[in-house]
Amino acid sequence: MNGFFLYFTRERLSANARLGDHLAQAAFFVMLASLFPLTVGPAADGLRLIGPAVIWIAALLSALPAFDRLFCDDLRSGWLEQASLSRFSLYSYIAAKLVCWYLFALLPLIVITPLLMIFFMMPLALAPVFVSALALGLGVLVLLGSIAGSLTLGARRAAMLVALLILPLAIPLLVFGVLGCQATVSGDDMSTHFSLLSAFFLFLLVISPPATAAGLRSALEDG
């Protein structure tokens, strides 16, 4: 059996058993974003202006705090030791972990975004662009979160540390994502912003796995 497939099976089964946690995250996302239309007021112009930024920030804030749990259970249960002593490379473990995390924790946020666009009076015709931009953005986030999650393994107050580590690094992600979405709403050209976002994603795709592996190995020293 292929290593990625094996690790993915285990992650999928465990994540299925904890589906509630992940859906709670999506519910938090919806509630956080819906606070803005409720407090700013129903003026369509204002909502449309802040909409992209609010959706992106809410997605970031609801996804962030969970990243300290990314590898935490595996370290505590000893699966990390088993995985790093196996015939498969640690990279297949990391890849399966991230893909599964993306599907279970982040995909619900992406799927629910068109609903939030209605809250912000944005035309649903723009939903495909919004959804794919956010899908790319959260792909970036999961790669950042993987580095931060592995570095803070075993630390006390890991959730706060993870947030402090990721937020500054996520600024380019937010800037390009939000600018691109705003350009879409106002009918301007958004391809520059999304190209830069893709470049950021590809850059992280290269550096995140080795950085994560190094973080995991250093966590394994202490056991």
Binding site: L6, S14, R76, L85, R87, S89
Partner: protein, 230 residues
């Protein structure tokens, strides 16, 4: 002489030359530390195929750290661990030996059933085909709770499930690293563990384990006192 302490300040050039038997894991002049604390220095040890080595010593004498170092988790402060004249690698496609790790953190998934969890760990070692035979033999008497979730099992039951993986992984290609495998077992479990260790020995595999209790003479093993490392 399988185990001897070298002088503490030996460098690699002056370290005594050992006959590097091809089928032996040679630990040469090993020093380990945790932070500022040295756990051992100048430790030389060879693990022959088909031998069982038991580490015994007081808490904090470095048994677990030594196992973690051999497993490749803890970096060596000094010295080398060699297998076939190459640094021992237990991980990934280029490994020299298959490492099997046991500690109280057993690697079982709390949310899954014992059977499923066992299946996944067996697949990790590429031994899924033999799983049915092991379940049929049921050395550790786990059949009755295979369908239960891991988190609902007692410590001893989890331990039996985790040890069942080792039934799949006997032979000269396997290095067992076990940290207190007998701590939570009852008398039958202990007997099964001893039978398992004897089997690994007969199959010509490697076994290094840390334990506080004495094993019976049902299999030959040498005991190393980690209390005298420093």
């Amino acid at each position: 002489m399988p185990f001897l302490r070298c002088a503490k300040k030996l460098d690699r050039a002056t370290a005594p030359a050992y006959s590097t038997h091809t089928m032996t894991i040679e630990i040469k002049n090993l020093a380990l530390r945790r932070g500022a604390r040295w756990l051992c220095a100048g430790l030389c040890l060879s693990l022959a195929a088909g031998s069982t080595t038991v580490l015994r010593g007081p808490n904090g004498s470095g048994k677990s750290s030594f196992l973690r170092a051999v497993g490749g988790f803890l970096p060596l402060a000094e010295g080398q661990i060699l297998y076939r004249d190459q640094p021992l690698v237990l991980e990934g496609p280029e490994r020299g030996l298959n490492g099997c790790w046991y500690s109280h953190k057993d690697g079982l998934a709390a949310e899954l059933s014992a059977g499923r969890s066992l299946q996944l760990t067996a697949a990790l070692h590429g031994r899924n085909d033999e799983l049915d035979a092991v379940l049929a033999a049921d050395d550790f008497a786990i059949a009755s709770f295979l369908d239960c979730e891991i988190r609902s099992l007692s410590t001893g039951q989890r331990q039996r499930v985790a040890l069942s993986v080792f039934c799949l992984c006997t032979g000269p290609d396997y290095l067992w690293l076990m940290d207190e495998p007998d701590s939570g077992l009852d008398r039958q479990g202990r007997a099964a563990l001893e039978a398992l260790l004897a089997r690994q020995q007969r199959a010509g595999g490697y076994c290094l384990l840390a334990s506080h209790s004495a094993f019976s003479n049902s299999f030959s093993h040498r005991v190393i006192d980690s209390g005298q490392w420093i």
